[in-house]
């Protein structure tokens, strides 16, 4: 009986694989490690975690109370060490909810060491940050708010600050039922707000749902290239156009590390703080990517595949912002001449020999992955008030 079930399962699996290969015109290319999910439209809203329920509404509909609280917190510098920098400073709505310097700005007195990624559609990702190190927005928010070159906040201080803003006390109570704001709830509200920053109705999504006129004939050709000759789909697949797997694609080191002292400080700091043994600490000059997670040599330089949505607004590109335009990105893959520092560079990337027209088509397709710009005004954040003015003495 058991053996029968096993055979049945195996047969079903093979069938599914064959079906995918048939519909998705996917072939296991040379060096292809896996079967790639097909391109697909985004669901109407990101998955809502059961332990942080919120509205399923996304921009531009009206926010629910939790999202609204998260909206305030996202723009509130109380969520940082010196009360001087908010989430929105590195994830700026005017800069595609990211940051337009190649290497993101950092906490005052510091710089970051990687490119800031857009908050838009982040709710659909399972692996967040370039190292994919957190698996929820609820975990991403504290990692950013508390990191020394990001928010540099301590929980004690940030939570206490929220408790001295009567407006926050009221809102947290309404949303979470707590007598006093808790920083963990603040992070949950920020996550709910970030899920609101979703864009499931791009021209690409409309096209995939059957509106054949939603994207231009050029873009359709671009999509064919994406799935075929250019083989982007090998890693950029599924509704978010990322397999959320890890590759070293040989992006060059950013010039900032050579030229700016403050970038060198942060580079060494990251290398130190992420846990380095003596040799690594002394010799590292390039970003070792997810090697930092498990210190396996075969992970050196690998980073999580970037999603391609909203890229119209999120230049510059790559984990260190070394490519300034989509054209440069396409050229990078076309030439396939990235550096192989550690013998880890993926075999998937090969020269593509794209014509000028093909490159233009590809770019046209990439642009269909962005809708209108998501614009929200900077909200007025709640003020502090002396507790005696609004809290009865106990």
């Amino acid at each position: 009986m058991k053996t029968n079930k096993l055979y049945l399962g195996l047969a079903a699996f093979i069938l599914v694989v064959l079906m995918f290969m048939a519909i998705g015109n996917i072939a296991l290319a040379e060096g292809d490690p896996d079967v790639d999910p097909v391109l697909a439209p985004l669901p109407a809203h990101p998955p809502i975690p059961t332990d942080n329920p919120s509205g399923k509404n996304v921009f531009p509909s009206k926010m629910d109370k939790k999202q609204e609280l998260g909206y305030l917190l996202f723009f509130d510098p109380k969520i940082s060490g010196d009360g001087g920098i908010a989430c929105s400073d590195c994830h700026d709505p005017k800069m595609g909810w990211g940051f337009s310097d190649p290497i993101s700005r950092g906490y005052p007195g510091t710089v970051h060491w990687r490119n800031s990624q857009t908050a838009v559609n982040s709710g659909y990702l399972n692996k967040i940050f370039w190292e994919g190190g957190t698996t929820s927005l609820e975990a991403q928010a504290p990692a950013a708010a508390e990191g020394a070159v990001a928010g540099n906040g301590s929980r004690d201080m940030m939570e206490s600050r929220l408790r001295f803003s009567p407006d926050y006390v009221k809102r947290f109570k309404e949303v979470f039922g707590s007598e006093w704001p808790l920083i963990e709830d603040g992070y949950a509200a920020i996550a709910a707000f970030e899920r609101y920053l979703s864009q499931p109705d791009t021209p690409f999504d409309k096209y995939m749902k059957g509106d054949k006129n939603a994207i231009s004939p050029m873009a359709i050709k671009g999509m064919d290239l994406f799935k075929g000759k250019a083989n982007c789909i090998e890693c950029h697949n599924g509704p978010m156009l990322t397999d959320e797997k890890f590759y070293d694609i040989g992006v060059a080191d950013p010039p900032e590390f050579e030229e700016n002292g403050i970038n060198q400080v942060t580079f060494r700091y990251q290398n130190y703080a992420k846990g380095s043994h003596e040799e690594d600490y002394r010799t590292a000059k390039s970003d070792r990517g997810i090697y930092f997670k498990q210190k396996r040599k075969e992970d050196m330089g690998k980073l999580r595949t970037a999603p391609l949505r909203y890229t119209k607004y999120t230049a510059p590109y790559m984990h260190n912002g070394t490519l300034f335009t989509l054209e440069e990105v396409i050229d990078f893959y076309d030439k396939a001449d990235g550096v192989d520092r550690w013998g880890n560079k993926t075999k998937i990337i090969k020269p593509l020999n794209l014509t000028k027209e093909e490159k233009e088509n590809l770019k046209e397709f990439l642009l269909t992955l962005s809708g209108e710009e998501i614009k929200l005004p900077v909200p007025k954040v709640p003020d502090y008030a002396p507790m005696a003015d609004w809290q009865p003495k106990k």
Binding site: P77, G81, D82, S160, R268, Y272, E278, P386
Partner: protein
Amino acid sequence: MKKVFVSLLLLFTVVVVHAADYPDIAPLPERKAPNPKQVELGKALFFDARLSGDAAISCATCHNSEKGFTTTMPLSEAYPGSKHWRNAPTLLNVVYKGRAYGWDGRLDDLDDFLRDMITDSMNMNMDMQLMQERLKQDPKIVALTLEAYGDKNMGTSKKGEMTHYVARNAIIQFLETLTSKNVPFDKGTLSAKAKEGMALFKGKAGCIQCHNGPYASDGKPHNTGVPENPEVFKDPQRHFTYVAYMMFMGVDNRMNWRRDVGYYAISKDRKDIGKFITPTLRELKHTAPYMHNGVFATLDEVIEFYNQGGGEDRPGLKDAAMKPLNLTNSEKEALKEFLQSLSGDPISIPMPKGVKVEYQAMPNWKGVKN
């Protein structure tokens, strides 16, 4: 005759018991002179804003080198985005303290306490690893460190390398230089009035029960009933900074305290509410205002406070030793004269102007070892 004998015996007993209770107040002992190069490095770091998280403040922001290594404000400044709820204690003679650092005596080791002053969110909010890498970026600091520590094992793989531990050690060497100079009490040049004050200090006024030893402090927590500084609870930034500290220390009921719990934050024993570590009395001339929250602007106010037996507190909290002293005006003057004789020449180091927070790029970045 018998009565006189009994009285003498009693007096003798009292003196002996007291002598066993606490050491006499005494001149500061000599300390080994610190290495001048290490002092030079420590001094540079003391004024260096790169030691704070957002590179906005240095040690000297709250321990002003032109104002007795404290400030004249009752309540101290703090890290940007917060405000302190206590007075900044002077760093003069702090190397003599040797225990119970901070108003609530949280730590007994100066290096540990200095580390927390740099890392605490309300003080300098600095990540030690980031601080180390910032300092390693400065060729002047790197060169000075090699000179100062090149022949000393500081636990680094190569001697003379800047680490956060070396940085703290150098600052402590600088603090070694911040000791009293030309103190009348230490030199034995007390005026007649100051001598009278000293007798009161050790006798009728009983100050010596807590203010004893060369540092003029027993290093222990006491509740003298110092009134609260209302500014702490009027200013939400001070109040939330205090709440954040209570959260950090795990104090219960932290949203409802409307007083500084003091040593209770450390011991969590309710009888310790409102206790603060006895401060030194040295260099009082240069370190007003006084008490843990700066509520007294002058020594006269402080003396009057003790003359009245201290302040008010709930039964059982205030130290039993606090009783009205019934000092005459002339006695108060004498006491003040003695207290002032515990201060030496002003120690003032000009605040360096235009210290730049900047980081030069290392030439040959890829070629040098980190």
